[in-house]
Amino acid sequence: MQFFIATVKRAGFGLVLLVAVLALNFVLMHIAPGDVADTIAQDAGGLDAEVMEQIRIDYGLDLPLWQQMAKYFWGVAQLDLGYSFYYNEPVTKLILEKLPATLLLVISAQVLSIFLGVMLGVMAARKPTGMTSHFVTVLSLVGYAAPVFWTGIMLIILFAVMVPIFPIGSMVDVSVEREGIAYAMDVLRHLVLPAVTLGSIFLALYSRLSRASMLDVLGSDYVRTAQAKGLSEFQVVYKHALRNALLPVVTTVGLVMSGIVSGAVLVETVFSWPGLGTLAVQSIIARDTPTILGILFFSSLVVVVANLLTDMVYRIIDPRIKTSGGSNL
């Protein structure tokens, strides 16, 4: 019951937040100089005055701000995210087209980097002054400091141009028709470089985090107790210590997942990955208000869901955490 109330409370907060986010961004997009008619003129190589006027009337840009907003929110209340000015398509359709690609990329990169990062972190923590530890430190510093587009281009030069085993970008090879397993393998082949590139930042983050928190935990009393009981090294490290050391990592995963759209923009651009990030940037540049608000709507949903999931994972890993009325929202 307590958990239920906490969840409802959070959902309520989330809703208020969502409305605030949308309203704020609506105003921001309105303040930004220029509008979608200018962008359409750019694509067209110039427009006549009447045509530009007509575009502004068609999209309701000539109405006062409050009327535009009222119209938009009335639509959202009916679960209609509106119609993209720039693409002439329903916003929901545009987003659902792009969402799978982004999810595939971000989740692969996350799984890869959590697994590798935690493993490296633990290895480093066990001998904090050994070679492995130094290696992990250097690797994570480089991985974190290198700009992601640079890492991407370097990987392309190495593995697509010098040793051409992977393609330079896109999600599928459309010059040949494939189905079933062959298609999946083709997507996988295209996924490797972008996932590794995006994973490189997270890898650094997770390995450093898990190294630090493992070091912390390994020095605590209950670990010494476990060792004194005569448990094997494996059991001590992976069953007793790691479980506690994972908490900060889980928190970070939750935080990172909420940045799903922003995080992948550069990687998507470098690898021509057809995801949400590219759509978001394009619609900001194009002043395509309904699309950008739609994407924000979806990202806000992702944040809420990611937070809930993080909470649940906490409970599984650490039974000490009881439902405490959403104090850590």
């Binding site: 100089p33 220029g34 200018d38 067209a44 110039g46 045509v51 470098v270 021509s272 194009a286």
Partner: protein
């Protein structure tokens, strides 16, 4: 048929000249998939209601036009097998190719032509293209008669690649708004050499051979895959590793120079004469002190065109002295060039009474730029114009719409930008100078608010003159007058290049419209 053989041999000769290799001209062969890259996603694929190169490249493959142009500005039969201009130049009669069909098998008739012109006239952004067309009469299914209110020499270019697409009336005539028609990007039924297969935003456009194309034996290619790759470095690497056979509209000097150093790639600047992109510095001629023609002339003398072309563009561009592209037959190179002369520039400003202050500066000015590619040209002005005592502030805009708002509302001093000719000067050049086209809020109108009655009169005459020689003379005089007044200082062409893998691509699209023309003659070597 005769013309096409001529065209093929002409293109062959160009390829030979460019590669510098003496080999037997290959005979085109059928089959294969051309993989090319494009730099952006088009809004949709219907060029009748959407202009611009993103729609133009796939659009010209999907939709045929009445005429097509070669690389020397000559019109050739395409969907029209012949045409006839009346003595008073007010009636143009086209005979359509017999038996031509749309991709769904329905015949292409004169009524589709009349319908297409009506749709373009009502919806296409370039109002001047068919402004003079009063009506299109259809005495029979294969004859379309254009009735003009005045002689209209721009008609042929307006009826060519990507500007005058013939679209099916039985699909777009259903009463829906053609600009938002669902068939603009899904299940597109066209009239051109290639049929629509798939369009996935930000990923690719796939086209396949139209086996019932009205030109026998064409197109050669089975399929064209246009991969949408926004990152220029990724495109460059894709060409290098052989994944991409051809990219058009590449404009970064470093990518062009890089391609020139790779043995399997050829970079050519042929194919951009009609689009005609030119770099310029535009002045706000109604704002002090730029309203003084002497100030504008002094600035022009202080800008070193050679430096821009050699240092910034690395020799990939052509000098442009006027607003008509150097590849156009109407370009007049013999105007005042304003070659670098700092002493003269300083003397003009001294004589005009703009004395230097205690800090050595005469007056401050701002410079805006419309897109990242023009930033170096804007920044160049700061140190350069300091030499003649003008204190320049470079203003960065929050993207294109922000810049467009500033410039179109006349809140600027100097702005640097690239503007396109779009084939005939009537379409893309007149708009920059006509007194009555200084329209607030409209970008790429006469945002300089330049007004010279003499220039207006010359442009009006040139826009209605069917005699090529006389037209050239009118434009020549107009360009000279404009150069005297310098509402805009022109520097160079934008270095658009087509980069292709010459071991794979035969007959690269080198006509005046480049890849925005039908690629039915392009073929793949082995």
């Amino acid at each position: 048929m005769r013309f096409s053989m001529k065209l093929i041999s002409a293109l062959g000769a160009i390829v030979l000249a460019l590669t510098g290799v003496t080999v037997q001209a290959d005979t085109p062969k059928a089959g294969g998939t051309l993989i090319m890259s494009v730099g952006g996603t088009p809004r949709h694929l219907n060029p009748a209601v959407q202009s611009g190169i993103a729609t133009g490249a796939p659009g010209a493959q999907l939709f045929a036009t009445l005429v097509r142009f070669d690389d020397q500005w000559n019109a050739h039969p395409y969907l029209a097998k012949s045409w006839d201009v009346s003595d008073d130049s007010r009636t143009v009669t086209f005979q359509l190719v017999e038996g031509a069909t749309f991709h769904d098998g329905k015949p292409i008739t004169s009524s589709d032509v009349a319908f297409s012109i009506k749709i373009i006239k009502e919806n296409h952004p370039f109002k001047t293209m068919f402004g003079a067309v009063e009506s299109v009469e259809t005495p029979d299914a294969n004859t379309a008669v254009f009735k003009l209110s005045q002689p209209h020499p721009a008609l042929m270019l307006a009826l060519s690649s990507q500007l005058g697409s013939i679209i099916p009336e039985h699909i777009y005539g259903d009463g829906q708004d053609p600009k938002k028609h669902p068939r603009n990007s899904e299940n597109v039924v066209g009239s051109g050499p290639f049929k629509f297969v798939e369009f996935v935003r930000d990923q690719h456009i796939i086209l396949e051979r139209n086996e019932n194309f009205f030109i026998e034996g064409r197109p050669y290619l089975d399929k064209i895959v246009m991969r949408i790759i926004k990152d220029p470095s990724a495109r460059s690497l894709g060409r290098e590793n052989g994944e991409i056979y051809m990219s058009a509209f590449e404009s970064l000097a470093q990518d062009i120079m890089h391609a020139k150093g790779i043995s399997h790639l050829t970079a050519t600047d042929q194919g951009y004469a009609a689009i005609g992109p030119i770099f310029w510095y535009a002045f706000n001629t109604k704002k002090e002190p730029l309203s003084d023609v002497r100030v504008r002339q002094a600035i022009a003398y202080a800008i070193d065109r050679d430096f821009l072309m050699n240092a910034i563009s690395q020799g990939t561009t052509k000098a442009a002295y006027t607003g008509i592209h150097p590849d156009s037959i109407f370009h007049e190179p013999n105007v005042e060039h304003y070659d670098l002369d700092l002493d003269k520039a300083n003397a003009i400003l001294d004589d005009a009474g703009y004395a230097r202050g205690s800090d050595g500066m005469r007056f401050p000015l701002t410079v805006d730029f419309g897109w990242p590619g023009a930033k170096p040209n804007a920044e160049y002005l700061k140190p350069q114009l300091k030499k003649i005592g003008i204190d320049i502030e470079v203003r960065t805009s929050a993207g294109f719409p922000a810049w467009a708002k500033t410039v179109s509302n006349w809140e600027f001093d100097i702005t640097t930008d690239v503007v396109f000719n779009w084939g005939d000067p009537v379409i893309g050049v007149h708009r920059t100078y006509l007194c009555d086209n200084a329209k607030k809020g409209v970008i790429w109108s006469n945002t300089q608010r330049y007004c010279n009655e003499e220039v207006d009169a010359l442009l009006a005459k040139a826009g209605q003159e069917n005699d090529q020689g006389k037209r050239v003379a009118y434009y020549s005089e107009a360009q000279k007058l404009i150069a005297q007044d310098v509402p805009i200082y022109f520097t160079e062409s934008l270095p658009y290049h087509t980069i292709y893998n010459h071991t794979k691509v035969g007959n690269p699209p080198n006509t005046i419209w480049g890849t925005c023309a039908p690629m039915d003659e392009v073929y793949l070597k082995n």
